[in-house]
């Protein structure tokens, strides 16, 4: 039987401070394809692994603008064009009355875009992932902090990478089968 190819090498840490400094050192050592896992958001960790492109705000903005336009144009078309009804002599295009629905649809579309955009950019839902093969990774949702170097990294070398991770004083090191 062929040995399963490795997905990466994972080191386990006890505190967020250790994880952030380990991530910084791995990034400085030239590892580009790395990721860090923690049971809660840690400020500066994403920067430490070299993550910069966060497009969630852009997606939300586009959703919000789309919602506002949808809301206003829908009301304009319905009230002034498709089904004009004279209510107490008010103009067909009574824009102040259209503001509440425009506002609500702006919020609705922006909120849905923020959530779906975040999930899509994160590649979720993804029930299976190689990191779950490591049994200790169950503690990543409790009180342990993990750093992984992916085997797709050009610098990856099972011996050298393991030596590098050892120098970071982790609690344990595991190979992640893919």
């Amino acid at each position: 039987m062929k040995p399963t190819p490795l997905y990466g090498m994972m080191a386990e840490f006890d505190t967020p401070t250790d994880l952030v400094s380990a991530a910084e050192r791995a990034h400085q050592a030239g590892y580009k394809k790395i990721d860090a896992y923690s049971p809660f958001p840690i400020e500066g960790l994403a920067e430490a692994i070299g993550f910069q492109k966060n497009r969630v705000p852009l997606v939300t903005l586009i959703g919000g603008i789309g919602g506002g336009l949808t809301g206003y144009l829908m009301q304009y078309w319905i009230s002034a064009s498709s089904y004009p009804v004279n209510v107490g002599g008010k103009p067909y295009h009574s824009w102040p009355a259209f503001i509440p629905v425009t506002f609500e649809l702006t919020i609705l579309f922006a909120g849905i875009s923020a959530v779906l955009g975040m999930l899509a950019l994160n590649g979720l839902p993804m029930p299976y992932h190689p990191v779950f093969n490591v049994s200790r990774f169950a503690f990543a949702s409790k009180d342990r902090f993990f750093l992984i170097v992916f085997s797709s990294d050009p610098q990856y070398n099972s011996k050298a990478t393991r030596d590098f991770l050892e120098r970071l004083n982790p609690r344990s090191i595991s190979e992640v089968p893919s």
Binding site: P39, F40, T60, P100, L108, V115, G117, A140, K142, D143
Partner: protein
């Protein structure tokens, strides 16, 4: 951040009792769901709530067969209990979004231990609220006519009507609250997935957690999305009760047609919402031993919010009365006279006592940390806020401009069954929630611990 809060509130109680670690916080909250045996008390409470829910379904079934004539509504009082209860429930929902969104933006870290169940409370309260306008329309099976959809009749909703704005406001509010709640749950569902030993539970929590693994990239986008949702929910929560108040304020009935309504409705909503948060938090922390996480600090702060919003509500009453006199409008003046001396005067006095007089005891610092006293005062406030909506809806309508069209409103047993039934439905949903989902946000509690700080 914490020190600043302490200075601001003058409160010494910590947000979490010292001595907790990532592991103890995780175990304490997740064990309530995963390992703690379901107590007889839970079955008893859920059973009663479930029976009340069945009563609601019975009352609604009979309503669908016989029509709204089984209720006490007549002309001139066409709105009755349905709208009173709608406004009451939707107001209660507001505290959840206030705690989760506005207090997040204001960096009030004490919110982290009460936001989860306050959001759940919001969802269930909005669900109860949503029932009422739907069953009040007379032909509920045609309620989808409220939404703009292309139809063979060639007609569209009337967008100059606040009732249509309300449809959009409430449905947007329900959707955004549900999203906010669910997204907040995802990392904790991953914790439950990894902690549970039962195969079925692992599957269910696993599917709901969507494969969350806590990657730094994911957290980064997650926090951005969460913050943006909070920013969006903040104007939304203020707009919802504003739009609800437009249902009244845009009308020309004396007692409704006032500009004070939007802020006064929003303050009243938060007032009743925090009362409900306290009524739920106090028994929950006692029964589940969560005094370490829901500390005196939380009770104090919630009581202070109640006191502040209660005073805004009192200001609203004063301005209403003042304008009744100062406007020189004889119909407005009569509305004021009718509240004080008309057939519903006892309701108005009870309202003043419940909403303004009794809550003033919250000025006493010692009382703000006494769970039993807070529980009772919160109950009084909830009654008071219900009476307020009763006064606004019924007492304004029952004597309008023409004496020939005056009338009285007497709720029937079906009105009461429907109202009490929704309380049962709300409680049944809360009972299920505390049993199957983490009622305190585990990952946000971890961020409050001293060991969560990254040292340079």
């Amino acid at each position: 951040m914490d020190d600043r809060n302490e200075q601001l509130t003058g409160s010494k109680a910590p947000v979490i009792k010292p001595g907790h670690t990532f592991a103890t916080v995780t175990d304490k909250i997740s064990s309530i769901v995963l390992t703690r045996p379901t107590s007889n008390g839970w079955f008893l409470g859920f059973g009663i709530a479930f029976l009340l829910t069945m009563m609601l379904l019975y009352a609604m079934g009979y309503l669908f067969v016989r029509g709204v004539g089984i209720w006490g509504i007549t002309i001139p009082i066409g709105w009755g209990f349905a709208i009173v209860n709608f406004v009451w429930w939707i107001g209660i929902g507001h505290a959840g979004t206030l705690i989760s969104a506005i207090l997040l933006l204001l960096r009030q870290s004490w919110r982290n231990s009460i936001n989860r169940f306050a959001e759940a409370m919001t969802l269930f309260a909005v669900a109860c609220a949503g029932i009422f306008p739907l069953i009040h329309v007379g032909r509920p099976w045609l309620a989808y006519w409220l939404f703009p959809y292309p139809n063979s009749m060639g007609v569209w909703p009337q967008f100059r009507s606040p009732l249509v704005w309300d449809v959009f406001a409430v449905s947007t509010y329900a959707t955004i609250s549900a999203l906010f709640w669910f997204i907040g749950l995802v990392p904790d569902l991953a914790t439950l997935r990894d902690r549970s030993t039962n195969r079925v539970a692992q599957m269910i929590y696993g599917i709901l957690a969507m494969g969350w693994r806590g990657s730094a990239r994911h957290w980064h986008r997650y926090e951005t999305a969460y913050l943006l949702l909070a920013g969006l929910a903040t104007p939304l929560v203020l707009s919802v009760h504003t739009v609800v108040s437009f249902d009244f304020a845009i009308g020309i009935i004396s007692g409704w047609h006032t500009t004070i309504f939007p802020p006064y409705f929003v303050a009243g909503a938060i007032y009743s919402g925090f009362a409900m948060v306290l009524m739920l938090a106090i028994p929950i922390r006692k029964v589940y031993g969560l005094e370490d996480f829901i500390t005196e600090r939380h009770l104090q702060n919630s009581a202070k919010v109640m006191l502040a919003t209660g005073l805004i509500v009192a200001y609203g009453y004063v301005i209403e009365a003042f304008m009744g006199w100062y406007s020189g409008n004889r119909y407005d003046a009569f509305t004021l006279w009718n509240r004080l001396h008309g057939p519903y005067k006892w309701d108005y006095f009870a309202l003043l006592i419940c909403n303004i007089v009794i809550p003033q005891v919250l000025w006493i610092r010692k009382l703000r940390t006494k769970p039993l006293a807070l529980f009772l005062i919160s109950g009084v406030v909830l009654v008071g806020m219900w009476l307020e909506r009763f006064i606004i809806v019924v007492v304004s309508l029952h004597r309008d401009f023409l004496t020939s069209s005056w009338g009285m409103y007497y709720p029937t047993r079906w009105d009461w069954m429907t109202y009490i039934g929704t309380i049962g439905m709300f409680l049944a949903a809360m009972f299920l929630f505390v049993r199957i989902l983490p009622m305190i946000s585990i990952f946000e509690m971890r961020t409050l611990l001293p060991e969560a700080e990254v040292k340079e």
